[in-house]
């Protein structure tokens, strides 16, 4: 089975869960003998400490059956037009790039068409809206089936606020032209059927997996000096993009409420994003700035250390299609509190849940978790064993089922 895959995030150039998901999935597919050509945008100027190399291929998985192609573009999935213009002005060869974000998508799509011309493949598989156009072109070029993998929709990203019409249209167009849609949760599938006019038979739910633990040595109660945390402080962790979808503001309000009842708690916010300034200012405004620590965007190693250090990991997402970080936290023995408005709640039971807007419930549960040792221990232990059962093999198998089903009829 040969798959032409279109993505845009891939480690070490990840800024969110999509890179993680793409990596995990392609690695597992590759192990199962699927030959993947993964098309990614190339962005040298964004500032991640990544060594891409000059060969034109990104060799991340050595000797695997994945061939990687770059497209010269500074496409980043979470940037809005403002952010884009900022990074464009930093780029070294402005003449090559189009003047708006959507021009970039168009360029990506065109370049993809060229690639589709050259490559041999049985199925096209693309991840999220920016690649949908490319997927459609590739499908048309060689008359092959198209699978759309929906990791997030514009509705999730804007969480109740008006979506960007162009992005929504791209998503909708792609969904209607695709032969099959893969959604990362029932939550997402329901969003698609409700808001994009897609019949439910067309959508298959494939829950995300999680990578097995890295080899890093596990410490119990290691409180890192860098974070200026005293040994008897409890740590409540937020790790994710500081953007509306992830609910960092609800995190801050909960922090305020918790600190009214319990003093020895520190709140660590790991991540960056468009709401960063707002959150910093809000913490100051609420008078809790000395208890809220901003760790910034963390590398993979530091992410794991953050989980290991945390007494609770909170994911108060407003609309989370899946939420791999919850599984990662559980694997690192951090008990989790996740919002009910997330896909991951469909597959985990050893966690605490609350509605993202319910500050009282969130705070009450976190305080309970910090106060009652048997609760903390039982939840931590059971969550650890539950998370260990997740891998990328099951999702990969399901994708292969989809590939087989589609190629039968073409």
């Amino acid at each position: 089975m040969k798959v032409l895959m279109f993505g845009w995030e891939f480690p070490p150039l990840s800024s969110g869960g999509l890179g993680t998901a793409c990596y995990g999935l392609t690695k597992s597919l590759s192990k199962k003998g699927v030959q993947i050509t993964l098309v990614l945008p190339y962005s040298a100027d964004i500032g991640y400490s990544a060594d891409i190399g000059d060969s034109g291929f990104i060799r991340i998985i050595p000797a695997g059956s994945i061939k990687l192609r770059r497209i010269r573009s500074i496409l980043q999935p979470y940037m809005n037009s403002q952010g884009y213009r900022k990074s464009m002005s930093k780029s070294q060869s402005p003449g090559i790039y189009g003047s708006t974000l959507f021009d970039e998508v168009y360029r990506y799509t065109l370049a993809a068409e060229e690639i589709a011309e050259e490559e041999g493949f049985d199925v096209v598989h693309c991840h999220d809206w920016m690649t949908f156009g490319a997927g459609i072109k590739a499908k048309r070029k060689k008359n092959k089936p198209l699978v759309l993998h929906v990791h997030a929709t514009e509705l999730d990203r804007t969480g109740g606020h008006p979506p960007n019409q162009h992005v929504y249209d791209s998503e909708r167009d792609g969904m209607h032209k695709a032969d099959k849609i893969i959604a990362v949760s029932k939550f997402t599938k329901n969003k698609i059927t409700a808001h994009y006019g897609v019949p439910s038979e067309k959508i298959k739910v494939v829950h995300n997996g999680v990578e097995p633990s890295s080899q890093s040595h596990y410490h119990d109660e290691s409180h890192d000096e860098n974070f200026e945390i005293k040994k008897n402080d409890k740590i409540v962790l937020f790790l994710g993009r500081l953007t509306l979808q992830k609910g960092p503001d609800y995190f801050i309000y909960a922090a305020k409420k918790i600190l009214e009842h319990q003093k020895n708690v520190k709140f660590v916010i790991a991540g960056s994003g468009d709401m960063e300034t707002f959150i910093i200012e809000k913490a100051a405004e609420l008078g809790i700035a000395d208890k809220v620590l901003f760790a910034g965007f963390l590398s993979q190693n530091d992410v794991e250390r953050a989980y290991k250090m945390a007494d609770v990991y909170v994911m108060p997402s407003v609309s989370e299609p899946f939420g791999i970080t919850a599984l990662e936290a559980m694997k690192n023995k951090a008990p989790v509190l996740v919002s009910n408005q997330s896909g991951v709640t469909e597959v985990i039971r050893h966690c605490l849940k609350a509605d993202f807007w319910d500050i009282n419930e969130i705070s009450s549960k976190i305080i309970s978790l910090l106060r009652y040792k048997p609760l903390h221990e039982t939840l931590k232990e059971n969550a650890y064993f539950e998370a260990r059962k997740f891998n990328w093999d099951v999702p990969a198998e399901k994708c292969i089922e989809v590939y087989n089903e589609l190629t039968k009829n073409f």
């Binding site: 106060r371 609760l375 059971n382």
Partner: protein, 404 residues
């Protein structure tokens, strides 16, 4: 001959509210009265009343040859009195036939037998009084909460003057022996009746299981199995939750029809009859003395205490509630003591069980919480609030610190 001894347990706990951490100290109401009311009404309608009607009818039609026994927890009776009093009336009719025996248990359906002999004793006496008051009946046979049993418990019950006690016919105790005989507990003169779990669970659990090789179970087939015990046993003890009839097994699966026909099918074999526990005890001698050194219950596959005490949360919660005994008694405040006892009901700890949480099953039935963690959180917050109350009312300055 084979004597069939039916025993039905009737219990509904007083479920707790989702008490938040911020309510500690406010002394808000702990119990979810709305939920408890709606559940007891629903069960009364779907199960207790229709089943009682059928059984009363069967007793009359068989001229009193059909007999059954019950025990009802005090907390269930209180709720019935309040929200479904016709059920009490219906039980009075049943007792009036003379073919229905009532057993004693702990009033608040607790595990006090494990933690406090004084409490155990008092809760049983309270229950005894309640049964006398409501039904003008004096129980002579005892069954502990969830059939929790060991030698020590039997000894205590024997000393209180009971003639008999029920227990689970657990394989690891019986080994080669059969539950279909009357036994004697260690070091006491009472008699011991053991549940035949295979035949009991055939009705209570497997009845509507399409994948079961004996599905569908007819009264005729089942009566045949009972008759086979002839020559290999004296009694067949069928102990189960009363909610089997209409709740665990739904009406449309034919459970009431099964019940209606069963007595006739059993009595077709001339050597069979029905007995109450007291009759079984009177008629048959104990064939052996049985040693139960460890606790046995009728719960889950393990038949032990793990359903209530298997994880750290449960162990902590139950330890904490019994730690308050001295304080609560010191207060001499009846309302406080009553509230303390309601917090001892075994169901609260059952809801915190993580054993089968991955599958979600029997433990989830009527469980007011989405997860065992939510159950523990609500309980501990309530406990901490109660602790403050108890401390104040008892002026006890030696109160253990609130868990921080």
């Amino acid at each position: 001959m084979v004597s069939v001894c039916f025993y039905f347990q009737l219990h509904q706990p007083l479920r707790l509210r989702k008490y938040s951490v911020f309510e500690i100290g406010k002394h808000n109401n702990y119990f979810d009265e709305h939920k408890n009311e709606s559940i007891i009404k629903k069960v009364a309608h779907k199960c207790y009343l229709p089943a009682n009607r059928i059984i009363l009818d069967l007793i009359n039609r068989t001229d009193g040859r059909f007999k059954v026994s019950y025990s009802m927890s005090g907390v269930a009776l209180e709720q019935l009195e309040r929200y479904a009093p016709s059920v009490i009336g219906s039980f009075r009719q049943l007792v009036g036939t003379g073919c229905v025996e009532i057993l004693d248990e702990t009033y608040h359906h607790t595990l006090a037998s494990i933690y406090s002999k004084d409490e155990f004793n008092e809760q049983i006496q309270m229950h005894n009084k309640k049964i006398k008051q409501l039904f003008n009946f004096r129980p002579r046979v005892f069954r502990n909460t969830e059939l929790v049993y060991n030698n020590e418990i039997a000894e205590l019950i024997g000393k209180m003057g009971y003639k008999g006690i029920l227990a689970e016919g657990a394989d690891h105790i019986l080994q080669w022996r059969s539950p279909d005989f009357v036994y004697k507990p260690k070091s006491t003169k009472m008699k011991l009746l053991l549940k035949n779990y295979r035949l009991s669970d055939d009705i209570a659990f497997r009845f509507s299981e399409k994948s079961w090789k004996e599905f569908p179970l007819t009264a005729e087939k089942y009566a045949g199995w009972i008759s086979k015990v002839n020559g290999n046993g004296n009694v067949v003890n069928l102990f189960m939750d009363y909610e089997t009839f209409g709740e665990h097994q739904w009406e449309d699966k034919g459970i009431f029809e099964f019940l209606r026909h069963l007595p006739y099918e059993v009595l077709k074999h001339k050597d069979n009859d029905f007995v109450t526990p007291s009759e079984a005890i009177k008629r048959y001698d104990a064939v052996a003395e049985l040693d139960f050194p460890h606790y046995v219950s009728w719960a889950d596959v393990e038949r032990d205490l793990s359903a209530w005490l298997g994880n750290k949360m449960q162990q902590e919660a139950i330890k904490e509630i019994y730690l308050l005994e001295t304080s609560v008694r010191l207060s001499n405040n009846p309302a406080l003591i009553d509230e303390w006892r309601k917090l001892q009901t075994s169901d609260h700890f059952y809801y915190m069980c993580t054993k089968w949480f991955n599958d979600g099953d029997v433990h989830k039935y009527f469980n007011p919480y989405d997860s065992p963690y939510d159950a523990f959180i609500a309980y501990m917050n309530i406990l901490n609030d109660f602790r403050i109350k108890a401390g104040r009312l008892s002026n006890d300055f030696n109160m253990p610190e609130i868990a921080k």
